[in-house]
């Protein structure tokens, strides 16, 4: 009795998709601690490989990705149908859409030559990584689905008042992320698993790795009647009815179930097994892609970006690496933004340049960095944000100085005690450092009616300010606060400083 492999695959798929959702809901900061919620993201060999290329190391949990590499060498692209949440979601929605088309419509699962695009996407991303520019986050399926759920789906669900545990998140440029994701899912209506077949660079990498996999779909040419039934639910469009394209096969095992003649099996070759087709890439195109990516990199790095100079709005989370190292690590997955209790962490649009799209920045109008919170570093899969302790962040217990994210500056033309002769200093009340970075001088002023008032006019002490942004967030001047944080003074940068300190 041969076990029903498709049923087993479905159980795995349900398990891993549930695990994905579970990890997302665990990233809520409710218990004030980080869990190993980055485990699924860390299974990703594409993240592992490209972070090795950009930073020369396989950080911590990313070592799990080696396990996927080894298993892929033997069993092919099983990851795509068994583990990858985006693959599973694409497969499931493709399955639902299949009811909309005639039973005999096998052509949707026919191989198309443009499916080879993903190999060139993979190659160009790896070439860029080699030069130190990590852009895999744009296309990596785990980063993509994590980001889409965190910044697209969850905030939308919150609009319906569902008990999701966290307060409503307002997303900087949010609808764009949601629309990209919806478009990718709807594409399954026309080409099932369009993303996985055409664009996914992780699928391409796993496809290359599975090239010599001994365990694969085998077709017994004697039993096969060329009825094409195996194509009907084929996920990879990998031609199980002909010369199987092993690098396209998602190991969904649907073809085995569909075959009325028991001609297909998954495993080692039998006597009458068919031969297999090579990866559909041309050497000339590979060279062209390499050259194009190599030429693109200097253009990218000649842009005015946070890598080349300090930018005021690029306020990074506490524990972030120096900017060029940060950009070499961040895969734009958004996990830090999910766990942030005040939602100050937001996906950048062009604030830090093209390279930094969707990397986390602080937007203090939307939140502030909670003084004793270090959750973002706990969930970061690549340590673009180092996992720092609360003691390191606030600068106690052996740590001489707190982690500074930037510095707050008064806009005296808008500040009520400075410009409007009105009492306020909410900023001073909120300032979490001890002693407070915001201090005041009492000043006698004469108002329009000639009345003498004593006002407390606030100042920022740049030595004490940590750039948390609570002053900006709580400033009663609502639209453009009268105190605003910019990145200067951030501890992670040697250059982005302004005060002359002894010993530096």
């Amino acid at each position: 009795m041969i076990p029903d492999l498709r049923a087993i695959r479905r159980l795995y798929a349900i398990f891993f998709f549930a695990l994905f959702l579970f990890f997302l809901t665990m990233m809520n900061g409710e218990d004030l601690q980080g869990y190993e919620t980055d485990w699924l993201l860390a299974l990703d060999p594409l993240t592992g490989l490209s972070v090795i290329l950009t930073s020369g190391m396989l950080y911590s949990a990313l070592a799990w990705s080696v396990l996927i590499v080894v298993l892929t060498l033997f069993f092919g692209r099983f990851f795509c149908s068994w583990i990858c949440p985006l693959g599973i979601l694409n497969q499931f929605t493709g399955y639902l859409f299949s009811f909309l088309r005639p039973k005999e419509d096998y052509a949707r699962n026919r191989y198309r030559s443009y499916f080879s695009l993903k190999y060139y996407i993979l190659l160009s991303l790896l070439v860029l990584s080699l030069f130190g520019a990590l852009q895999i986050g744009l296309f990596d399926p785990l980063a993509l689905i994590t980001r889409s759920f965190i910044l697209g789906i969850f905030p939308a669900l919150q609009q319906w008042n569902l008990p999701l545990g966290t307060s409503q998140m307002l997303v900087h440029g949010g609808v764009g992320l949601a629309l990209i994701f919806i478009a990718l899912i709807l594409a399954n209506r026309f080409i099932p698993r369009f993303w996985c077949r055409t664009l996914c660079p992780l699928g391409a990498l796993l496809g290359v790795l599975s090239w010599r996999a001994p365990f694969r779909i085998r077709r017994n040419v004697d039993r096969c009647t060329d009825c094409m039934a195996c194509m009907r639910h084929c996920q990879g469009a990998c031609d199980p009815q002909g010369e199987l394209r092993i690098s396209e096969c998602h190991v969904c095992l649907n073809c085995i179930r569909e075959c009325p003649h028991d001609a297909l099996h998954f495993g080692l070759p039998g006597e009458k097994s068919s031969i297999h087709a090579p990866i559909d890439v041309s050497r000339r195109r590979l060279v062209e892609t390499t050259v194009a990516a190599a030429l693109f990199h200097p253009m990218l790095s000649s842009a005015d970006s946070s890598r080349t100079e300090p930018l005021p709005g690029v306020i990074r989370p506490p524990g972030s690496l120096p900017e060029s190292d940060f950009l070499a690590r961040c895969i734009k997955c958004g996990a830090c933004m999910k766990v942030c209790p005040t939602h100050v962490l937001q996906p950048a649009l062009l604030e830090s340049g093209i390279e930094g799209v969707w990397t986390p920045i602080l937007i203090p109008k939307l939140g502030y960095c909670e003084h004793h919170c270090v959750l973002c570093g706990q969930v970061c899969p690549t340590a673009a944000i180092r996992p720092i302790s609360v003691a390191e962040k606030v600068g106690v217990g052996g740590f001489k100085t707190p982690v500074k994210l930037g510095t707050a500056f008064y806009d005296r033309g808008r500040c009520l005690p400075w410009a409007m002769q009105t009492e306020c200093i909410v900023c001073e009340e909120m300032c979490p450092t001890s002693p407070k970075a915001i201090w005041y001088q009492k000043k006698k002023v004469v108002d329009r009616e000639g009345q003498v008032k004593v006002l407390k006019q606030p100042f920022v002490d740049p030595e004490l300010c940590i750039g948390c942004g609570i002053c900006e967030n709580k400033c009663p001047v609502q639209d453009l606060p009268a105190i605003r944080v910019s990145s200067v003074g951030e501890s992670r940068s040697k250059d982005n400083q302004m005060i002359l300190r002894s010993g530096r």
């Binding site: 003084h371 919170c373 009105t422 009492e423 909410v426 001890s434 009663p476």
Partner: protein, 309 residues
């Protein structure tokens, strides 16, 4: 068919036709309930107790004031309003001490309260504030219900103030029978001190940071609106500087004192001495007394002091 459609459109045009360009949305205001047993009495009588065992101290205070049974009827829903504004630990004295909250939950349950609830509108992330202040866990353990208002849990409410006429108030204040204020004595740069009346900032939502622009009148306005059944002030640990957030233990002094009374103006006036200040230095107390909210002049207040243990 076409004639029917044409008639339908014509009728629709007539139905929706209006000359007024815009109708202002009417805000429906709710009134807070009366939380005091006897709304007219300003019992200018306060009790002060020094000691280390909060259960015994609370019991002594309440006995002095005639027992908690004199303030709540059996089965009533009692809301405790400690200061849980900040993500700070009890030792840092930025929030009401969890020991007082626990003792008060127990006392309310013993006095026959149907349900005891604990709430505050925090300034830092509320989950962190409730957890790290120690109040969330200990209140649950003592048998109270913890209410953390979200952005949606506020209702426009009548304010009986000179400056404030209406403001959003946490809905839970409209859903209980009695409210007991559990503030803490703290330094505050703008108002001079955070005390009992200042603690009502933690009952309201909206742009409450704007109240700073006329903070003394605002505090008195809040005091005129929220008339708690009883006030029990925590002065176990007192934050002397860098208030109201604190953070450094160097700024905290142990005073091991609780102050209670119905008249929160008198409670505030007495508590100021723990910050080395006098009622004359704090304008909101004079406003409050002038409006008849209570007695800031301590020579007209009966003060019972005792030491326990």
């Amino acid at each position: 068919m076409t004639a029917a459609l044409a008639a339908g459109f014509a009728a629709g045009g007539y139905w929706f036709y209006d000359e007024t360009p815009y109708y202002e949305k009417k805000e429906i205001l709710k009134d807070l309930k009366e939380f005091r047993m006897d709304p007219t009495a300003i019992g200018s009588e306060i009790a002060v107790v020094r000691g280390s065992d909060h259960t015994r101290m609370v019991r002594a205070l309440l006995t002095q004031l005639g027992g908690l049974e004199a303030f709540i009827k059996p089965g009533e829903r009692v809301l405790l309003k400690p200061n849980i504004g900040w993500d700070r630990q009890p030792e840092q004295a930025a929030n009401t001490g969890p020991e007082l909250v626990e003792a008060m939950v127990v006392a309310c349950r013993e006095a026959g309260a149907g349900k005891v609830l604990v709430t505050d509108v925090s300034l830092n992330d509320p989950k962190r504030c409730f957890h790290r202040s120690g109040i969330g866990p200990i209140a649950l353990k003592a048998g109270a219900e913890v209410v953390i208002p979200t952005e949606r849990d506020f209702v426009a409410t009548v304010m009986k103030g000179d400056r404030l006429k209406s403001w959003p108030v946490a809905e839970i204040f409209h859903q209980v029978d009695r409210v007991i204020n559990l503030p803490i004595v703290k330094h505050h740069s703008l108002s001079g001190a955070t005390l009992a009346m200042k603690n009502w900032f933690g009952a309201i939502g909206g742009a409450r940071n704007r109240l700073h622009q006329d903070i003394h009148v605002s505090i008195a306005d809040l005091g005129a609106t929220f008339r708690p059944t009883l006030t029990v002030m925590d002065a176990t640990r007192v934050l002397l500087r860098n208030g109201p957030t604190g953070g450094s233990l160097d700024d905290v002094a142990r005073r091991d004192t609780l102050i209670a009374g119905v008249d929160e103006v008198a409670v505030d006036a007495w508590s100021l001495r723990l910050l080395d200040k006098t009622p004359e230095e704090i304008p909101f107390l004079a406003y409050a007394q002038a409006r008849g909210l209570g007695m800031a002049d301590l020579s007209k207040v009966r003060i019972h002091e005792q030491q326990i243990g």
